[in-house]
């Protein structure tokens, strides 16, 4: 199986910081699968996301995206290959859902172009795919938290990327909305889209991901199959607190001891 991302000995230190945010990190993110990134606050998860997005440039080390060095991608190429689903986003302007999802088409449009009929068709398909078909003309300022998350997913889909990076996709959602987002994410994964998401909830990782990467103290603690990663021992070590796991109706649940 090939890798979507392959990082080798990546390091990054913020200006004026006394210790690195990412320290000699080597990690592979398999293609066509779902990978969860777990780690306590301040472990470097956001910094790692920024590096994967090329929003931050590592001080040293190499990052390969689909086998090609990340820095060799043009902006357009990168936008067509990797889409971001940010954790918190809100628009001050009352765009409607279709107008907002159309933003995802920008890597396919010339600087001074406006969206074509094809872009509109693809965006509407993306909106239906995430189940917002009834909201095409609603203002994004009236969407609920769960609907907004689906909207961001639709925009990422309209971007036509093979890989989605998701910042804590369920952290601010109630159980009902979480279930809705999880269902859509599973559907996307089954279509062969590579998902990579950060989360503070190991149970969500167990539910969605086949692969888990654990980040602690700026470097990789463990990376492997979900079943082997989500053990009480590793989780306790990761979060510096006693953790336990249960299996109920075939589902792995994680909690504090």
């Amino acid at each position: 199986m090939s890798d979507a991302y392959r990082l080798h000995s990546v390091a990054f230190t913020y200006p004026l910081a006394s210790f690195p945010a990412i320290d000699h990190l080597s990690l592979s993110i398999p293609e066509g699968r779902t990978t969860a990134l777990l780690g306590p606050n301040g472990a470097g998860k956001s910094t790692l996301m920024d590096i994967l997005l090329r929003w931050k440039k590592p001080d040293s080390g190499t990052v390969l995206l689909f086998g090609k060095p990340l820095e060799q991608y043009s902006k357009i190429e990168l936008g067509q290959s990797v889409a971001l689903v940010p954790q918190e986003e809100s628009s001050r302007f009352a765009f409607n859902v279709l107008e907002y999802v159309l933003f995802g088409r920008s890597p396919y449009l010339h600087q001074l172009a406006t969206p074509s009929a094809e872009d509109i068709k693809l965006s509407i398909e993306a909106i239906r795919e995430v189940g917002l078909g009834q909201c095409v003309n609603r203002s994004v300022t009236t969407l609920s938290g769960g609907e907004y998350q689906l909207l961001l997913l639709a925009r990422a889909l309209a971007q036509g990327a093979r890989l989605l990076l998701l910042d804590e996709p369920t952290s601010s959602l109630d159980p009902g909305n979480t279930a809705m987002v999880v269902r859509i994410l599973k559907k996307l994964a089954s279509r062969g889209i590579t998902l990579f998401f950060t989360t503070h909830d190991p149970s969500i990782a167990a539910e969605l991901a086949q692969h888990v990467a654990m980040l602690r103290d700026s470097t990789l603690l463990y990376s492997g199959e979900t079943a082997e990663a989500l053990t009480p021992e590793l989780l306790s070590e990761l979060y510096h607190t006693p953790m336990q796991t249960f299996t109920h109706a075939g589902r792995l649940l994680v909690g504090r001891k």
Binding site: D50, W55, I76, L78, R92, E99, F103, S106, I124
Partner: protein
């Protein structure tokens, strides 16, 4: 496009959502054309209105008989009308771009030290060189742009807060510096000549319009309008935060700086001749979003046309209502703030504050 058209043997039913989108576009296009027609009518009306031969509206058929009337229309009223429509479009367009780029519906070039810098520059030019239109324009553009750059550099140096907050704060600081500089200039200005010129210029007006002024400021304004109108869809994307904009293939810092520069140059061009004309850049984008929705693809062109309509209306009223002229800036402030209050009192909003 040289793409081959695919012809369906059987007429297939179009997706209703696509149809809807097309219909909305068509509707907005018609609204824009309607507004342009209204603008055209207003231009004719404005050219015929004035105080010669008698106060009121002249008979268009009288022009062929009255050569002086023809000259007045061509050399006095026409340049003024041109400056009003393009100036209004530039002020409203710049306001729209500032609001989108800072994702803040309450900014206009008056933030970020642009207007204050331009005012300082103009006052300095009046004191040093007397009332010379060229020197005022050069100096106002220079200091307006300096205001923007100073705000930008200062914001980069701040070590706290998000980018937008830092930029607005540094804009306030730079604006205050230029304002106090302006007060100092007024203190030293000759009260019998320069001080009056400065004060009158600050009120804003187009009474000194001439073809030579049109020639000197119109090119800058035209370039501004073309660039803004051409980037209308992309301006939407720049209302997203930097990281997200980056993730959909933009270079947010570069593209923002370019558009802000363009909007600033256009603004200082019209400010240098018309003085401080407030409220256009704040109020017109709000009205346009109400008519066209938030998508800048229509709301930006709408702002340009509405801005032209607004400033031409104000200027025409300003020079015909009373026997003396009402300064343009005073009229735009009165009408603009009244409209603003009206907008805020209505429940439904196009923006989230």
């Amino acid at each position: 496009m040289t793409q081959k058209q695919h012809v369906d043997p059987l007429p297939r039913k179009e997706d209703p959502e696509v149809t809807r989108y097309r219909m909305v576009n068509l509707h907005h296009r018609r609204q824009l054309i309607g507004m342009l027609c209204l603008l055209l009518a207003l231009i004719v009306l404005s050219l015929l209105s004035g105080r010669y031969p008698i106060a009121g509206i002249s008979n268009p058929f009288a022009i062929s008989q009255d050569r002086l009337l023809g000259t007045i229309i061509l050399n006095v009223r026409l340049p003024r009308v041109i400056l009003a429509i393009f100036g209004g479009a530039v002020l409203a367009g710049a306001g729209f771009v500032f609001q989108m780029l800072f994702a803040n519906p309450l900014v206009e070039p008056g933030f970020l030290g642009v207007s204050q810098g331009a005012a300082f520059g103009a006052a300095g030019a009046i004191i040093l060189f007397g009332y010379s239109a060229t020197m005022i324009q050069i100096s106002a553009s220079f200091f307006g742009l300096s205001g923007l750059i100073a705000s930008y550099i200062l914001a980069k140096r701040f070590r706290f807060g998000g980018w937008i907050l830092r930029l607005v704060l540094s804009g306030i600081a730079v604006g205050a510096l230029f304002s106090s500089g302006l007060s100092i200039l007024k203190l030293f200005a000759d009260p019998t000549t320069n001080l009056q010129d400065i004060t009158f210029w600050m009120m804003g007006g187009l009474w000194n319009s001439s073809w030579s002024i049109v020639v000197s400021v119109l090119p800058t304004m035209l370039v501004t309008l073309c660039i803004l109108a051409a980037s209308r869809w992309r301006i939407n994307l720049l209302s997203l935060d930097d990281r997200t904009a980056h993730s959909i293939g933009l270079s947010p810092a570069k593209e923002r700086s370019l558009l802000l520069f363009v909007a600033t140059m256009g603004t200082t061009a019209i400010i240098s001749t018309a003085g401080l004309v407030g409220w256009v850049g704040l109020i017109i984008p709000h009205i346009s979003r109400r008519v066209f929705g938030s998508d800048a693809r229509f709301a930006l062109p709408g702002s340009l046309v509405l801005g032209a309509l607004f400033l031409l209306t104000c200027d025409t009223l300003g020079r015909t209502l009373l026997s003396g002229e009402i300064p343009l800036g005073i009229l735009t402030s009165i009408i603009g703030s009244a409209i603003f209050i009206g907008l805020l009192l209505r429940k439904q909003t196009e923006v989230k504050l």
